[in-house]
């Protein structure tokens, strides 16, 4: 698996100028108060990971990887491994940026606010990627873009429709409970989501033919 992760990291490294440029741009925009930098994490992580799938697909590395020892399993493991590694690194960069921007703009740092924003972002990023990966493995990166658009569009329509008929007041009642345990709940759900997503992706790739 390490070899496959190194491959993904090498791809990310070769696009480092663009990545670094984006982070600097967002940092500057955050400093002048034009942008909430907290969205850097989900945006950049998703963009980078999707680009690794695109490069793999363009050079048919997916098929080539099967010719390597334990290629099918390692290929999936490494994508999830790289994702966690990447989110970890970008979270640290994001936290540092948030501290700097918060201190520069308000002369104070709201640690709790930054921590919860970061946790929410990590959760959101993992949610998006956990849904996307099995779809990408099933349909390939090109078709997956269309499938993901359809799913998001479908959820929006269905959600809008259901909200007219469902009474959501019970959520408000549970908010006190949620607030106390939010961090733990989010972490547990994220771990569960990633594990389920990984198992589905692995199952898809173990059967896939090229």
């Amino acid at each position: 698996m390490i070899g496959f992760i190194k491959k993904d990291l090498a791809m990310i490294k070769s696009n480092f100028k663009i990545l670094g440029g984006l982070i600097i741009l967002y940092a500057i925009m955050g400093l002048v108060g034009e942008l909430d930098v907290s969205f850097i994490l989900p945006f950049i992580s998703v963009m980078i990971m999707i680009s690794t799938f695109s490069y793999d697909s363009y050079n048919k590395f997916d098929a080539y990887s099967i010719t390597l020892p334990d290629g099918r399993k390692n290929s999936v493991k490494s994508k999830y491994g790289t994702t966690i590694l990447l989110i970890f690194v970008i979270s640290i960069v994001s936290i540092i940026l948030s501290f700097i921007i918060s201190y520069t703009n308000t002369k104070s740092i709201d640690y709790a606010q930054i921590f919860f924003t970061m946790l929410g972002n990590i959760f959101g990023t993992l949610l998006v990627l956990s849904v996307m990966y099995p779809i990408i493995y099933k349909f390939g990166i090109e078709k997956a873009r269309i499938v993901i658009c359809i799913i998001i569009f479908g959820i929006a329509i269905l959600g809008g429709f259901l909200l007219q008929y469902i009474d959501l007041s019970f959520i408000a009642k549970s908010l006190d409970f949620l607030e106390n345990y939010l961090a733990i709940i989010l972490i547990l759900i994220a771990i569960f989501m990633v594990l389920i997503s990984y198992k589905i992706s692995e199952k898809i790739l173990l059967k896939k033919e090229y």
Partner: protein, 285 residues
Amino acid sequence: METVLEVKNLCKKYDNFELKNVSFKLPKGMIMGFIGENGAGKTTTLKSILGIIKSYTGEIKIFGLDSQKEDKKIKEEIGVVLDDMFFPEILTPNDINDCMQNIYKNWDTKMFNDFLKDFALPANKQIKTFSKGMRKKLEIITAISHHPKLLILDEPTSGLDPVARAEVIEIFQKQLANADCSILLSSHITADLEHIADYITFINNGDIILSKTTNELLDKYGIVKCSETEFKKIDKKDYIKYKKNKYEYEVLVENKKDFKKKYDIKVIDKITLDDLMVLMIKGEK
């Protein structure tokens, strides 16, 4: 002789194409040329051997092990070059070396770097800056730098100029100095195979129509060139296929010597693998 690869009754069905009971054996230390026209089933066979295609019927044994059950163990000992499938082109040879060190137990960094120097491949440049010949050479040296016991190569010389082709063949020959290595090499550039292959296996429309030693094919087989009158005297069982040209008949025979003894026809040419492919595919019986 020990068998490295055995394919037995391999069948795979698509909507418009089918592999029909493909069977052949590759002995240890030998090179087998796997020939056939485009779409004949060469790549499908190789993909089945490598597990890229899984839903086939039949049996594939590599080093005497079941190719699906012992996949990981087998892949440690195999080197592969597939048409247009490789590492992403934004990587450099150095990146590939870094990855492969953690993928193969026997990865030989020194051997890989020596090959890069021998073939003047820049270690720090992205693959996308390489010419087609350079890229192919990199794919081949990547396939052999973990000392594989079996090399599976799909069209490794396709699209290369004669100089690059000669260099690529030189790499195979160097690799063969390692007597343990066997090679299954699919190609439609048959001239290359005549020089290096010990065995030729010929697939046509999903069917193996011939699997013999190269010497047997090139020495025994022949093309009889004769008039229509002479052709009509030849017994059907004494030839494999024939082709009617504007002024003469070309008749593929399995044994030149026996044919000469039986018939009074003077012109029997030596066969090339190109002739063999054309007559087997386009000829009539």
